[in-house]
């Protein structure tokens, strides 16, 4: 399969006056054409930061460090100027549906007007033509054309999320980053949106990066799963490798799965991970997860485990997996 996106040694540090917050440290992964890659982890582990870094728009004082490579469709976008990025990468090639974007629609303009503005900012187009295009995209996300004349407060959360998704797809990007696209929605609406995303992916031949904290949801949408912890990749494997019979190999993934309450099975007690994710200004030595790990060994406390391939396509950063 072709790679649409290669991320190599991606480092993003926030330079605060207390020191550098290593929000992303040596993140390396590929995204294949037509696949959905899931990014999971607790809040603050670097999921959203990864998404933002791929658009090359870290919020200040964040900076993508030297040596990071983001190769999009064969072209390294790191050396490009901000102008070039804006012209041919951001939104044109890589689009992002931000978390809570549906709550950021301007309350005083109609949906049609807001969509029109986004469209005309990037494409020179007759008003009539643009309107037709907007209607087409609205119907693609399952909304009637009347929605154009409505204001955001007249729409439900699900409808607003559909509009945000339609807006992200306008410019026919190749990669779409979805940051918690269903978090604030009810389960039935969530299922509807997930179905819509699956349909759109086929229609437009898209590649998705799907960011969520919900491991159950990830199992439904992602071909491959990338588990992040404290700005680093802990485990990366196919859906089968993570959720299959054999189960995940990193203790963090294992514990996260055990902490997920199941609907269809009554469990007497759930396990949990004690403590909280570390401060990224001064992360723990060795494996960053070792203070909370139930399988910790002496080596974990001093040496950082490398991300190694334990079976084809399955990468784990744990000393227990190093033979």
């Amino acid at each position: 399969m072709d790679k649409i996106l290669e991320v190599k040694n991606l480092k993003l540090y926030y330079h605060t006056n207390k020191g550098a917050v290593k929000a992303l440290d040596d993140v390396t992964f590929d995204l294949y054409k037509g696949e959905t890659l899931g990014l999971v982890g607790e809040s603050g582990c670097g999921k959203t930061t990864t998404g933002v870094a791929l658009l090359r728009m870290p919020s200040p004082p964040g900076r993508i460090e030297e040596g990071s490579q983001i190769i999009l469709d064969g072209r390294d976008i790191m050396p490009l100027t901000e102008r070039q990025i804006r012209k041919d990468v951001r939104w044109e090639e890589v689009a992002m549906v931000f978390q809570g974007a549906m709550n950021c629609l301007t309350p005083v303009y109609t949906i049609g007007k807001q969509m029109m503005e986004t469209l005309q900012e990037h494409r020179e187009m007759e008003k009539k033509q643009a309107e037709e295009l907007i209607k087409e995209y609205l119907s693609l996300v399952g909304l009637p054309p009347e929605v154009m004349g409505r204001y955001p407060h007249e729409l439900s959360g699900g409808m607003k999320q559909r509009i945000v998704i339609a807006t992200a797809l306008f410019l026919k990007p190749k990669v779409v980053i979805l940051d918690e696209p269903t978090t604030a929605l009810d389960v039935i609406v969530q299922a509807q949106i997930i179905n819509l995303l699956k349909k759109l992916k086929k229609t437009f031949d898209l590649s998705f990066i799907f960011i969520t904290h919900d491991l159950s949801l990830e199992a439904e949408v992602s071909d491959r799963i990338c588990v992040m912890y404290a700005g680093k990749i802990a485990e990366l494997g196919t859906n089968q490798q993570i959720y299959g019979k054999q189960g995940p190999m990193h203790p963090y993934t294992e514990k996260l799965l055990q902490a997920t309450p199941l609907l269809r099975k009554k469990v007497e007690s759930l396990s949990f991970i004690p403590g909280a994710p570390p401060d990224l200004i001064d992360p723990p030595t060795g494996c960053r997860f070792h203070p909370r790990c139930h399988k910790v060994m002496d080596r974990c406390k001093v040496e950082e485990p490398p991300l190694i391939e334990v079976e084809p396509g399955h990468m784990v950063a744990c000393w227990r997996c190093v033979k």
Partner: protein
Amino acid sequence: MSLNDNDVILQVKDLKKHFTPHQSLIQSLAGSGQKRPIKAVDGITFDLRRGEIFGLIGESGSGKTTTGKMIMKLIEPTSGTMVFNGEDVTHTDKLRTQVYRRQVQMIFQDPYASMNPRFKIRDVLQEPLIIHKIEGDNQKHDEMIIKSLTEVKLNPPAEFMGRYPHMLSGGQRQRVATARTLILNPMLLVADEPVSMIDLSTRAEILAMMKDVQRDLGLTYLYITHDLSTARYFTDRIAVMYLGRIVEMGPANELIDNPIHPYTKALIEAVPEPMTGKVDVIKELPISGEIPSPANIPPGCRFHTRCPYAKPECSEQSEPELMDAGNGHFHACRRWKEI
């Protein structure tokens, strides 16, 4: 199954809350007619048994939070009754309300938002003691604060008292919020989505803590959530709400393993699970569309507009009441035997 009155801590009967939209002077002069009331809660009946955890499940707009607020007496019910410990508490005077609030406490969804950001943990926990004029000097209060912090397993308690809410993790904050409710020795706790803002890795920890506290102190919980998975793990009984009414109610395991009402079935169907093999498969959802507006409730069975099994009788006949299917499993579907 008949219940001794003594076993029921709170009896809710045909409770309704209708909000009337604000009408401007000009609108009413112009005679544009009364706006439709928003029927947030439209006649719900259930009993809370002493010592149980009762789950109230529903999507947003189902009226579950409004129900919780009525039980907390934060808003006045439009009609219906609430009987707490054998006493009618639907409408109470100021004094009685104050006493009621010592016995019924609430845990909010966002523990951070539920604490004044300018208060230290000590002040947060002392507030109920001051409000209810609990006797004792600061030292006596401190002892009570330490005791309740110990109950929610925040160790060492003394160290947390001087901190501000923003210095704690999400899990620690929810423990403090729980401690604040426990300090007055309540009987009933209303918990509105207490873990939905908390990271997955610690969610189970908080639920386990709340369960321990409930067992140790013999509390009754009303657990309000949209999350069926935690409800199954956490509760004894579940009531599913749709558009202001309970459509199905029963023991947690029974209800989820053998749902009767088509809405409950759809809800369960929509929940994803961490099992491989469903990627890129478009799930057939048994229902479509979104929840209608509570200002415009469909006639007859209010679910008929989205129900895959709806027949003309569902919309033509009157609204179905809760029926017993045995084992304390109630439902409000007329055609349950056929589907």
